[in-house]
Symmetry: C2
Subunit: 117 residues, 2 copies
DNA sequence: TTGACATACATAAGAATCTTATGTATAATG
DNA sequence: CATTATACATAAGATTCTTATGTATGTCAA
């Protein structure tokens, strides 16, 4: 992981759900896709992803099915209506949270003009 | 905590360092200040903050001194040059990380116009 | 003056989620 | 035929949060 691993906590499942809102995908594919989209910033390892997928499935936010493609058996995941709903609220939560952290990190800098928003 | 506690991981020490770049502060004061600035979104509890302060001190990013004020003994923390330096890089790291997560969560939405930035 | 509450420090047990390591198996590639 | 990539999985360990608990002092109202 290019970034302090702690920052990642809680965001993996949100990003996984995001990818699954677009298409059904299998685990290994999710890792490669996140790597690609983040320009190799998020180098998720399998030991991190698979437990997250299993937990999301237990929570019925995603479901799975095995499919053979490209001569390989792959476990595809599909987002459920519950997962879609939770994703939307988690996305909002992330936006609010990240906005608040950024605000605090910027606030009250000496010599900086503060304009109302 | 109003938000999924996992999102907080890794951000507490950055926000603490931020407050200490402004003024020396004591622990209890940091909790109240974060609560106030975040509009009660970040309700840090003492069990979370004190270990973070102790670790930052062990890492020599902050130093401490006891002072009596308002009839009470308070342990004040002061950011060191090392802490200031690390804060600046962590702030940048946070901005990059948060920007990347937000980008991924927004990306490729169906029916959405994508404009170059 | 006494009991409740806020202030102020601290630590310990437990939960969640990551890293690193390990294991199994198959396909592709040189 | 050996190495690498693909593809699944789990376990041990680290970190950092929550919740609970403990100690002590100051303030304020009944």
């Amino acid at each position: 992981m290019a970034y302090d691993g702690q920052l990642l906590k809680g965001t993996v499942s949100i990003m996984v759900l995001k990818l699954l809102t677009e298409n059904d995908r299998y685990g290994y594919q999710i890792i490669r896709e996140l790597e690609k989209r983040s320009e190799s910033v998020f180098l998720l390892n399998e030991g991190a992803l698979y437990p997250v997928l299993h937990k999301l499935e237990t929570d019925e936010q995603i479901s799975s099915y095995w499919e053979e493609s490209g001569g390989r058996k792959r476990k595809y995941y599909h987002i459920t209506p519950k997962g879609t709903e939770l994703f939307e609220s988690k996305r909002q939560e992330w936006a609010d949270f990240a906005g608040m952290v950024s605000k605090i990190l910027k606030e009250f800098r000496r010599g900086q003009l503060c304009t109302s928003t």
